[in-house]
Symmetry: D2
Subunit: 143 residues, 4 copies
Amino acid sequence: MKAQFADYKEKVLQSFNHQGLAHTLGIEVEDFGPGWFHTKMIPSQQILQHHNYVHAGALASMADLSSGFAAYSLMSEKEEVLTVEFKINLLRPAVGEMILCRAKVLKPGKRIYVSESEVFTVNEGIKKLAAKATVTLLVVDMD
Amino acid sequence: MKAQFADYKEKVLQSFNHQGLAHTLGIEVEDFGPGWFHTKMIPSQQILQHHNYVHAGALASMADLSSGFAAYSLMSEKEEVLTVEFKINLLRPAVGEMILCRAKVLKPGKRIYVSESEVFTVNEGIKKLAAKATVTLLVVDMD
Amino acid sequence: MKAQFADYKEKVLQSFNHQGLAHTLGIEVEDFGPGWFHTKMIPSQQILQHHNYVHAGALASMADLSSGFAAYSLMSEKEEVLTVEFKINLLRPAVGEMILCRAKVLKPGKRIYVSESEVFTVNEGIKKLAAKATVTLLVVDMD
Amino acid sequence: MKAQFADYKEKVLQSFNHQGLAHTLGIEVEDFGPGWFHTKMIPSQQILQHHNYVHAGALASMADLSSGFAAYSLMSEKEEVLTVEFKINLLRPAVGEMILCRAKVLKPGKRIYVSESEVFTVNEGIKKLAAKATVTLLVVDMD
């Protein structure tokens, strides 16, 4: 997969920096390229549930954001993407020093993009798959 | 649907009060009973995306929490529920003075509960369906 | 919801009659109108699994078809719909003299329609919810 | 992943041979092992929709069956699995001489298994991803 213009990284980062929810939850960009987007999050009390696991909603937010930006990295200068729907399976309790998300575009299309996000816990260097999401996105023209 | 013990409301509220993510996102209990759970959220800059719509992840968190507590209200004193997976469709931009979520149990089971959440925007008293989620939950014994 | 032209029923039925899978599985139209579509299926050995329940795949086919036609009933003469994705929860074993499916459009859009299908078993006149599906559809121009 | 007893292949094949829907749709076992299951299907008029694409419901049936058997291969002699829910994204029109499905267990659990199915079209030896499904399964004791 290829980006559609030279400065796509700038456009992507600028948009990410306007995501209030990412800042609220502590989700940061790790790295990205055309069709993929990696994020990280250090769990704080703010996003935990009653067992001190990271709440499903925080993992879902991370998965949706990362998959959306994986698709966004392939848009032209005048296009953006909207999440149509997503589905996430929670595979194990998300307890960890760090949460990583690896998103990639599974299928680009004319109007519909489908991305996948894998969410991992990291403890003492050991990465475990904690959640997996499939995200359907619609390409729209920017206003 | 019927609660399994007299003081179930106390147990439910106590657990909700331990949901760090709910507090972070500003999700509050509106009302609940056996098999249903209603929440509300006043959108703040913290949960908006770049168009000032409420971010899909915040709606998903609200939908997951509300559906989970709808099922939790039917558990015995020693049981709780874990989200196995959920799927959410974003139906229109979530712009509003207030966001409401109406969750109910669609099917109780021995081990698996399925709940649904409808998320509405409210503007000048007009309620519009903004998202709908289906949530699959597993009944587990509390430690 | 309103049909876009007078003879929409003819167009809908003509398309349904070309669905090879519907005939293979024994899915028949019961009734329909603008934005809704009802189907029925009498379980035969052909669609059962090893416990003599109707197989999830047959219920999913019925749910997808019915939701798709609920949206199709709202298209113009030159448009049709494609299933982008669907999700189905199997709520109880599908054992019955008859299987019914009730589909309706949850949200029409410019390019994306979202429909829901409820699948019921019928035994001695008693209807029980056996499955529920959410279906995302894309509006496309006919060739 | 490891099978729980020596003769698991016999048990798996015996159960597959009782799947009426697989025979109706022409779905055959290609190969399998502990935690994975591959199937194939030659498209016939019976499973096509009006554009002569394989109908979403037939792909969904193939994906559900294959994912279910991937999990079933890991069960003990007295256990089986039930589909709790699945979600499938249709990624491109399924036109082909042959349809292949590659299913594997993503996460085994005590009570819940999650599997994934990738469905491919094959034309003149070229394999293309046509659909992808995530399937949630519940482990139950056989009667």
